[in-house]
């Protein structure tokens, strides 16, 4: 599978990306390429730059140096390039960020109607399809505040899918959830992965990483320290920092 994937040009490629917050060097010369259908898990201690990294891909953060290319579109800071990239890239946030004043259905139809110019009928058909897929269609007329955290996060996944993105970015999607709700969100993500979605997930769920990741990338202090297939990554990490991190994380699970 990996071999056939290598025939395609990368869907996302980052080259020598540098980012600073003032004097703080948040991303240090990051290079990464992600092929269509690949599932990447990004992990590392907090403040290591993993969230910042995926937020740069859809231009929620700006970069100082380097290039980011998504589906052949160079992210050059122009509205045109940002629009084009955001149309292909869906994102799921740690804090769900559903719009509280809209029903579940309205949350899902907003962007297809405003951004893609879909009719209400088409947008609702699409929304129902993806709400069904995350198994929450029965809550379509409810407001976010009436749902549990796990349900809200599944709606957020459906909302992103409604734009029919080529890549999905997950920014610690289960970190704000009560433990009993983590599984329903992870199961949804696993389903998505099985269907061939290209995914970059910032997460500490190592079980998920083992199960679906093609590559696990470990970051610390704004650098990619190590990357490997999950087998190798968990069994024989090369770097001291990776070993320490895995020791800490796995001790809790």
């Amino acid at each position: 599978m990996l071999n056939s994937a290598k025939d395609h040009p990368p869907l996302i490629s980052l080259e020598d990306v540098q980012k600073w917050y003032g004097a703080f060097h948040a991303l240090k010369s990051i290079s990464l390429s992600v092929r269509k259908g690949e599932k990447i898990v990004l992990c590392g201690p907090s403040g290591s730059g993993k969230s910042t990294l995926i937020r740069c891909i859809n231009a929620l953060e700006t970069i100082e140096e380097g290039t980011i290319v998504v589906e052949g579109q160079v992210l050059d800071g122009s509205t045109k390039s940002i629009d084009a990239i955001r149309r292909e890239v869906g994102m799921v946030f740690q804090s769900f960020n559903l719009f509280p004043h809209m029903t579940v259905l309205q949350n899902c139809t907003l962007a297809p109607m405003r951004v893609r110019g879909a009719s209400r009928t088409d947008a609702e058909r699409l929304a129902r399809k993806y709400l069904e897929r995350v198994r929450i269609l029965d809550q379509a007329e409810k407001y976010p505040a009436q749902l549990s955290g796990g349900q809200q996060q599944r709606v957020a996944i459906a909302r992103a899918l409604c734009m029919e993105p080529k890549v999905m970015l997950f920014d610690e999607p289960t970190s704000a959830l009560d433990p009993e709700m983590v599984k329903e969100v992870l199961d949804t993500m696993i389903g998505l992965a099985r269907d061939g979605m290209t995914m970059i997930c910032v997460t500490h769920e190592m079980g998920f990483a083992r199960q679906v990741a093609d590559r696990v990338i470990f970051m610390a202090s704004g650098e990619i320290i190590e990357e490997a297939e999950p087998e190798v990554f968990f069994k024989s990490p090369k770097h001291e920092r990776t070993k320490t991190f895995l020791g800490e994380i796995l001790a809790h699970h």
Partner: protein
């Protein structure tokens, strides 16, 4: 106390008071609408990245909030004609009320906009929405909900401030009261009635605000 109450003379003028009350209501509603528009547009400019957009709004808010309403309305009514801008009392009153209320509304609504979490805005951007849509469709409603009590009490203030418009002889309740008082010399009766009418108008206004809130902010929050 030798004063004998006699509401008869005032009650004879009841239709006049009623019509003037409608004048007050009209000025208040038009003033509020203008204030709301100024408030929302002002916040858009006030929260923009561009200093050229922000500075005039900051100056506007400070000038309006640090000068008396009476002077503002005199300025529009007596000073502007010298620059060729001549407005009738009704239009002047609505302008003055809208501008004054708008300056306060900008500061109130800004608080609401700032209370909307950054994550909401980012979610909108991530979905590919543009800034204007993010503000209009995602930020505005929760922002207005957050500050609705302050905004409506400001609007009640605006309603009562219409009485100052008597100074340019706008058609409203207090000027009618002054007219009736000078005809009948029944000061107590006239102002007693007028006080009661203002109370009724304010109460009705609050009822209207509650109704709007129930329909517009009908979504649950956590």
């Amino acid at each position: 106390m030798s004063y004998r109450f006699d509401f008869g003379a005032v009650l004879d003028r009841a239709p006049e008071l009623l019509w003037a009350s409608l004048g007050t209501l009209g000025l208040a509603l038009a003033g509020m609408l203008l204030a709301l528009v100024i408030g929302i547009l002002g916040v858009v400019a006030r929260t923009s990245k561009s200093e050229i957009a922000r500075t005039p709004v900051i100056v506007f808010v400070e000038v309006v909030r640090n000068t008396p309403f009476l002077v503002q309305i005199f300025f529009i009514y007596f000073a502007l004609p010298l620059m060729g801008i001549r407005l009738n009392p009704t239009v002047t009153a609505i302008m003055a009320l809208g501008i004054n209320g708008g300056a306060y509304a900008i500061e109130i609504i800004r608080g609401g906009v700032e209370s909307v979490s950054r994550g909401q805005i980012e979610a909108g951007f991530a979905l590919g929405l543009h800034k204007a849509d993010v503000f209009r469709l995602i930020v505005l409603k929760p922002a207005l909900r957050a500050i609705y009590p302050s905004l409506t009490s400001q609007f009640i203030m605006l309603t009562l401030t219409t009485s100052v418009c008597t100074s340019i002889a706008a058609y409203e309740l207090t000027s009618a009261a002054q007219r009736i008082e000078s005809d009948t010399f029944r000061s107590f009766e006239v102002y007693f009635m007028v006080t009661a009418i203002y109370l009724v108008i304010s109460t009705m206004m609050m009822g209207l605000f509650a109704l709007i809130s129930r329909h517009y902010f009908n979504y649950p929050t956590r």
